[in-house]
Assembly symmetry: C2
Homo-oligomer: 501 residues x 2
């Protein structure tokens, strides 16, 4: 029986819901613990949580979790933690400084108390008898993102989750290609690598270019400059702050997520706001509109977000006027076009200037590596095996084709295990040991539980057709047909249909 | 009271559901009669039909419909006709040859009998005392698309719906810029123009380029070459047939819509299939896989489409094998990414080669004019007023900005009437006369009717939360609490929740 086992607890061919297990004898090392997002086929479901039943089973059998390492601070890598922790024995958690702060924020929001140990780059941490790891700095759309070099008795695993190779990042901390090149001589057994944007043939553009585009839209804004972006994108926020400083606009943050993230980043010196530039959101009206820059949460046009409430005139603080400008510094997440463009269209109906990447492409740059960056990293690291992660099945398949074509890997050397597969590594080889049937937990309203396929299918049917209930009294065994009542919801509007009934 | 009235019956700021009214005294001239597509906020709704209640009201008042002119054969311009005709007195309908055939097909499918008069280009048709019109040839993603020059007592209206300026169209019939240039000297009162792709700064690429991309994917296909595309895209189909001919693959069509459209196009000599190239879909297995090219409906991964059934192994004729290749010669319609990429991902899971525009962009070119093409057409025509149509509110607003910037129109000369607005033209000026509250009819299952906002809101609520019915018997005025029954659907799975109940 092979000694090192690997399993993606969040499933295979998924972008979000990241959670990975490395297992050696009775030691289980976890990487990331993120939420997933439901699609339109899961009505009423808020978020998805990775299936930890395999962990629970192994704990029953005497195994233990030796640690959980966070790669970076995005919710699809950290935010399932508070849902999972109460069901598991305690274990240490590790992250870079900002990631630890973000993860602790999520854990604290759930009224739990667990701290995350801050680990420095290039500093090996011995987690247990069989596992140790080291962080390497990489560039991504949240600062302090790391790749993880995991040393195991079977060899080195390079856990290369979300990244891009940005030559000119906003904080000047480029990807640690020096250490990666060194590792290229250390016989890495298997490299996991972010394949999400394998379809893109051109090297991704630097995050720095968004700063220029943002400043360009700021220059000719007559009223308030309102910008929305991913609330964890501290480098984007830094560039907005810098542009605002140059153009004498005070900065305020509006929206719980962005306010929290900014607070954490400022405390860690990862975001610098010049003295006197920051104003409280409740005081914006004390300044002339042309002297403020508002960074507002809601870049996807989410219901209930600060931006959407402002757009519909329902925000207590932020009123949009015709001389203001709203800038979307984010693309629509695929599948969310309706909300995203709905928000933009509503602004246009109200004659408010709005600028978004479809008009000015540099307003957003992806945080993920394109095909040549992925190839570059693999080429430097020269692992024996390579495994695409963080992409859907079409990305995994294309990755396989490209790595084979461009880097001369053989098909067997590129691992694309199916959903739930446990891969065992031993003596330099690998095989699939078992395939579990993973079933993510669902967070639905205030509860967490197992809303299975039958319930979801019923919900879809109800949502498509509505219901009609026909109530026939039955008195002492006899149906009273003279007294039938019909109740309907979502079928036809009862008042209109009175005569049908 | 102004003499010429204009109203978009399908609403403003919409891409689909095209239906326009021009009214002079008691004469009402219609342009197009297309369906709209519901979004995820309208669960269970199949299609939307323009609101014709204003027409019915005007008919009551003594007005009459003098004609309906179809601009081209897309469903969002013709397919509402069979739903609308039964509610209206007879009137003549006009279209180009292919458009007439497509419209008659839709009408016949609904078991109605109405013919559409075929009108040639540059040939004035006198529709009534006050209206006459002329067709001009333009390029678009269905052959035989026309712009409509409508002569009214108040001046010329140029109805410039969906088009692009393709310098090298597949059938060599370029847009009639000569006649458009002539019209530039005839004081056109108002030009309506397709603004959908105003966000694109570069001239659209010619449809001819897709043929090269398709052939490139065909060349190295080992098994069956399976391609899916918009089923009315006869020029795209022609290019597939041409490539198949060059590479000795017999051609078969699979899917009702594509089979019908091909039949109509072949009869009108708008699609040419060399003798001996066409095979019946039931005979594909009589040929070696590397000798067939299958053109299959379902380019959006629609449920029930031939392609999707084949992908899931449920098609009676088309079985996909690992050496086959599936080519998507269409982009995802915004909002439909889940179905579209879901189909592609499923193919990838089954190890079938799939190529799509995200990998090979030239596999699809839009049929809509980019910004410079829109400006070119307006610049040639030099209308007094210009009105963007066929786009959402963000497109209309950007159009206004661009036309003002680049062609020196004043804000008042660019019309973006709100939803339901009746615009009156008189003595070379215009004003908004009234704003109607338009309410599209809904086709839902087999019926057509007015499923209002309450019903849709109930459906959304049911779909999000499910239902629980609590039945408490009441016998002779007394509730029998010992005998409560609980029924649920979509709430929790009853078997799992037995103990809760």
């Amino acid at each position: 029986m092979p000694a090192l086992k690997f399993l993606s607890l969040g499933g295979a061919g998924k972008v979000t819901q990241n959670m990975y297990l490395y297992e050696y004898e009775d030691e289980m090392l976890l990487v990331d613990c993120g939420i997933g997002f439901p699609d339109v086929y899961m009505p009423g479901v808020d978020i998805l949580i990775p299936d930890i039943s395999y962990l629970l089973q192994r704990i029953e059998e005497g195994a233990r979790i030796v640690g959980l390492i966070f790669s970076h601070g995005h919710d699809d890598h950290i935010a399932a933690t508070p849902y999972v922790l109460p069901n598991l024995p305690d274990f240490p958690m590790y992250g870079s400084a900002l990631t630890a702060a973000f993860a602790e924020q999520r854990i604290g929001d759930a009224k739990l108390q667990h701290s995350v140990q801050v680990v420095k780059d290039r500093t090996p941490v011995k987690v247990s008898q069989h596992f140790s790891f080291e962080f390497l700095s990489v560039t991504h759309s949240v600062p302090d993102t790391k790749h993880i070099v995991i040393t195991t008795p079977e060899g080195i695993i390079y856990h290369g989750t979300d990244f891009k190779l940005d030559p000119t990042p906003v904080d000047n901390r480029t990807t640690d290609l020096e250490r990666i090149t060194q590792l290229g001589n250390e016989n890495v057994l298997c490299m996991l690598v972010d394949c999400l944007r394998i379809e893109r043939p051109a090297w991704s553009k630097s995050e720095s270019t968004t700063g220029l585009a943002i400043e360009q839209t700021m220059v000719n804004t007559r009223g308030k400059f309102v910008i929305t972006l991913m609330s964890s994108h501290i480098h984007r926020i830094q560039q907005v702050v810098d542009a605002a400083t140059r153009h004498n606009r005070k900065v305020a943050f509006i929206g719980r997520s962005v306010e929290q993230n900014v607070k954490n980043a400022v405390e860690l010196n990862m975001l610098s706001i010049p003295k006197g530039m920051l104003i409280d959101k409740r005081n914006i009206d004390d300044f002339p509109p042309e002297k403020v820059c508002l960074i507002v949460a809601g870049a996807q046009g989410q219901e209930g977000s600060s931006l959407l409430r402002a757009i519909y005139g329902e925000h207590p603080i932020l009123q949009l006027k015709q001389e203001d400008k709203v800038v979307f510094s984010a693309d629509a997440i695929p599948g969310n076009e309706l909300n995203y463009f709905g928000a933009i269209d509503e602004l246009c109906r109200n004659n408010i200037d709005v600028v978004y990447p479809d008009i000015l492409p540099d307003l957003h740059q992806s945080g993920h590596a394109s095909e040549p960056e992925q190839m570059e990293l693999i080429g430097l690291l020269k692992p024996k095996y390579v495994m695409p992660i963080g992409g859907q099945d079409r990305h995994r398949r294309l990755f396989k084709t490209r790595v084979a074509e461009k880097l001369d890997y053989k098909e067997k050397e590129i691992l694309t295990p199916e959903d739930g597969a446990i891969v065992g590594f031993e003596d330099g080889g690998y095989k699939v040991l078992d395939v579990l049937s993973l079933r993510p937990q669902i967070v639905d309203g205030l509860g967490i539980g197992d809303v299975g396929p039958v319930v979801l299918s019923d919900r879809r049917a109800l949502g498509q057709a509505g219901i009609v209930a026909i109530v026939i009294p039955r008195i002492q065994g006899e149906f009273d047909l003279s007294n039938i009542d019909v109740v309907s919801k979502g079928f036809v509007f009862m008042r209109d249909a009175a005569e049908v009934v």
